[in-house]
């Protein structure tokens, strides 16, 4: 999406602009089952409301829904949480190798994906096998972290994405299932 204006750069910015924002921030870990489920819930916000809400208003909107769907507002029962992955270098080799040309799949799911729209169906070159992490779509859907998936850093020529005026390189981290050989 474009058409936004100048970057709102603030000097000597406070950590929280209003006290309630800090309280919302502090409740996040108790309420969000996984980071992906939290992000995916924020993305359910009606688009016009999303664009007209501040950062912590979007958090608040998601926490209200996550708390309700887990029964936290009217029950003392603790939600069952799965274990969290830890960052470690992948020890297996995947379908793609550094230097290989790949195409981003057309990830048109109504559920959660971490493939930005501006990269869909575009071709890039694998720079490195970046790390392994549970698939975000699965973790968003189930509220549990699943099996590890390889994540690749892929480099795109910005001119391919945004037109000839763009002279930079754009890199992004994409899961193995988000890519196919080009």
């Amino acid at each position: 999406m474009h058409g936004f204006g100048a970057i709102p750069i603030e000097t000597d910015e406070p950590l929280f602009h209003e006290p309630w924002q800090g309280r919302v921030w502090a409740m996040q870990r108790a309420v969000a089952p996984t980071t992906d489920r939290f992000r995916s819930t924020i993305e359910q916000m009606p688009p016009a409301e999303y664009l007209s809400s501040g950062y912590y208003e979007r958090w608040l909107w998601a926490l209200e829904r996550l708390a309700a769907e887990q029964g936290l507002l009217d029950s003392d029962e603790r939600p069952r949480r799965g274990s969290r992955p830890s960052p470690s270098a992948p020890v297996w080799s995947g379908r793609f190798r550094p230097g290989q040309r790949v195409r981003v799949v057309n990830a048109t799911t109504a559920a959660h994906t971490r493939v930005p729209r501006y990269l869909r169906l575009h071709e890039g070159v694998v720079e490195r096998v970046a790390f392994a992490w549970p698939n975000p779509g699965e973790s968003a859907a189930t509220g549990r972290y699943g099996d590890l998936e390889l994540v690749y850093t892929v480099a795109f020529t910005a001119a391919d994405l945004f037109g000839a005026d763009a002279d930079h390189i754009l890199t992004a981290d994409l899961g193995e299932g988000d890519l196919e050989a080009a």
């Binding site: 309280r23 502090a26 208003e57 507002l73 971490r114 501006y118 763009a166 930079h168 754009l170 992004a172």
Partner: protein, 190 residues
């Protein structure tokens, strides 16, 4: 009548507290602690950058395996990688999908990092965006914008300022700004 965010946050917290999922006092403490600057901050990132400038062995480990190299300062909860600037390559970090940021070593992201303006524009027209930060990138320098689309977090290792030969880590760290570790600024001049 529409409730304000403040009222909604208060209602949410009261319900969660009443059922034992959060505790008012612990939230008080967490907010006070973070606001007092006791939480993670960019000071750690600056220290890591300064060390990488003076200690080639550490720099090599940092670029090769940032999670492992940073472990002596802090255990990472998510993958971390460091992108090294050179005289001909400059890196900039963004998260177009939300606000992914190396908070453990830089603290909470500034509002501009989380803004729609930065998120939508820096991937498309980074030179114009950097100019708004007062940064000119020469035409011959390759700009690489990294979109943190997955769980990995990124830190820019900026170029060491000229005129700092012989400086130690403490002195150098004072020159390392938060924005220079995101790629929207340069370290201070000595």
């Amino acid at each position: 009548m529409r409730l304000t965010p403040e009222q909604r946050a208060e209602i949410l917290e009261r319900h969660l507290h009443d059922h034992g999922h959060v505790d008012h006092e612990r939230i008080d403490d967490a907010v006070a602690d973070a606001t007092a600057g006791n939480g993670p901050s960019e000071a750690l990132g600056a220290r890591i950058v300064a060390r990488a400038w003076v200690d080639p062995e550490f720099r090599t480990r940092l670029l090769d395996d940032a999670v492992g190299a940073v472990a002596e300062y802090q255990q990472q909860r998510v993958p971390l990688a460091v992108l090294q600037d050179t005289p001909t390559v400059h890196h900039v970090i963004v998260c177009t999908l939300c606000s992914c940021y190396p908070s453990g070593i830089l603290g909470s992201p500034p509002t501009w990092y989380k803004s729609f303006e930065y998120r939508s524009r820096v991937v498309r027209e980074p030179r114009a965006v950097l100019a708004e930060f007062g940064m000119d990138v020469e035409p011959g320098v390759e700009l690489r914008v990294h979109d943190s689309t997955a769980e990995g977090r990124y830190l820019v290792l900026p170029l060491r300022p000229d005129g700092t030969d012989g400086w130690d880590v403490d002195r150098l760290a004072a020159l390392v700004t938060r924005n220079s570790m995101i790629g929207t600024g340069r370290p201070l001049a000595p």
